[in-house]
Symmetry: C3
């Protein structure tokens, strides 16, 4: 880490804040539509927006053991909060937002994945962990959201292709940069790859093959603590 000779790739503040704002809007849109056992209040929706807007960057900086940049100025929190409120307004105005949510989501994971991978490479991490940090930065906000909202963690389940999109973009970025491409262009390509994979996966309903083990009943009974609830026969 000491012998970094190339100048550290600095993500411009406006680009970072743009990603935070888009994440905040997307998080608030998602959370506004949530109807679970308990409802979210205004603050809960804003918290999800802030979590999606800032969570990825926080996780990235924790993994890199650097001081979280999102806490070094007032702008990140103000942007994420403002974007969440704007997202709540949008959610009230439009009936059907699922396409907007999906599109924004794809762009946001692309941006966070690219920024995370770039920063990890700039700090001297090898290719594989740099891609890992990018995937964690891209998916981390969504994992925090699902855990806080008590939902099944989306990245774990059939049909998401979430991490594949994030990992693909981060990998292309890291390889491009290793081959000598300018860091900014590598980041642009990485964002594009992730966003396109994610949108195509949703449009064509592609999912990873579900893993099928042979031994099904025994272990499932032992490990599954979630009761299988069947509606009572009428």
């Amino acid at each position: 880490m000491e012998d970094v000779t190339e100048p550290i790739f600095v993500i411009p503040l406006w680009a970072d804040l743009l990603a935070v704002a888009l994440g905040g809007i997307q998080g608030a849109l998602f959370a506004s539509g949530f109807r679970g056992q308990r409802r979210l209040d205004f603050l809960g929706v804003a918290l999800i927006g802030i979590m999606i807007g800032m969570g990825g960057g926080l996780i990235r900086d924790l993994l890199l053991n650097t001081t979280p940049v999102t806490l070094q100025t007032n702008w990140y929190l103000l942007t994420a909060t403002g974007a969440s409120l704007f997202g709540m307004l949008l959610a009230g105005m439009f009936e059907r937002l699922s396409k907007l949510i999906i599109g924004l989501d794809a762009l946001v994971i692309g941006l966070f994945g690219a920024f995370g991978t770039s920063k990890a490479l700039a700090l001297g991490l090898p290719l594989v962990p740099a891609v890992f940090v990018g995937v964690c930065a891209a998916a981390g906000g969504g994992v925090l959201r699902d855990v806080l909202m008590g939902l099944p963690v989306a990245i774990m389940h059939v049909g998401s292709l979430y991490a594949v999109a994030a990992g693909g973009g981060a990998f292309v970025l890291a390889v491009s940069q290793t081959l000598g491409l300018d860091a900014v262009w590598a980041a642009v390509i990485g964002v594009a790859v992730t966003t396109v994979i994610r949108v195509l996966a949703v449009v064509f309903d592609i999912s990873l093959p579900e893993q099928r083990a042979l031994y099904r009943r025994k272990v499932a009974v032992e490990t599954s603590a979630i009761p299988i609830i069947r509606p009572p026969a009428p």
Copy 2:
């Protein structure tokens, strides 16, 4: 961060340990009353006590990228564990503890919020992220508790006013200190504001307005993975 000229505000060890002890008692009282699908054993109750007693400080130091002070001496863990055992004893002795739990809880989030905000300001963070670190320190232990116990995360749902109380106290503390008030008095005022808001919110059953989006059915079906369970008709 380098140009910090004012002496770093050091939270006295006794005050920090007092907060840890109160948190440990409160966490153990809460966990002792828990009856979910699976019961907690003694160790589970002690873990929740330790989590509430030390979780806020750990999260604060992670966000600030400083070495966790709670791990630099034996006293924090010994205090949190002892307080948890004491809390279990208390829970066995008294039938109705809900008032004690709520009062302790309000005081504990006040203390952790004030210590978190003060430390963030002392490290040179601007006002908004300093308040954010305070809120995370105040609410973090409870979030960890809810996630580990498989409960809905309290801070997310209607009726909590948790984060508002923590944020209000942290904000008043940060503004007072910015206006020149002594750090200790600012902390005392911050603790008082948080505790009073939280207790009043419970006493008068105040809650934030629930957010109501217009599009309800469609997205709810798509995003809610938790089945809505209705009791069978008799």
Copy 3:
């Protein structure tokens, strides 16, 4: 931390990678057998393997505020991923794996607990927090797995003896080292103690006494958000 005179105890890379590989296999075996409300895809199983293989080390380094060693070379992630794929293959080949899963699990928590405690002691932490870091490193991967898979967190519930095994091994290691035993032998003894306690606990079905508070109904109704589901009377 500055006055560390003894040379820092360095865990050999092969030993660390062996623990990561065993963790990856164990995590993938566990996740392959999971049948919850939603199924895991291949990636989900691999993620659980990576989480179990690397989660403990990541949590250890976060708590110690050192740069995560698992991200400083490509080998950790490649090993964890390869081991997960191997674990999936194994899960497909054998019907009954529960004994293998339990044995591997006991060995893995022993290794992670010992490495975590050793590193914490080498960084100058006192005995109690060093043991705590060891327990977090041993149990952390499993907690992450349970949270991501939406399962009740195993360490919290009756019948686990998980943390007792991890804590016992970490304590014996720390005391042995304090009494002057060589760090490597102390680590070997620590691994053995944890593994044996854990295997014996499963074999003889030992569990901690469940905590029984006197006041049961009132608080349970207030705090338990998980509805108690009863099958409809026929």
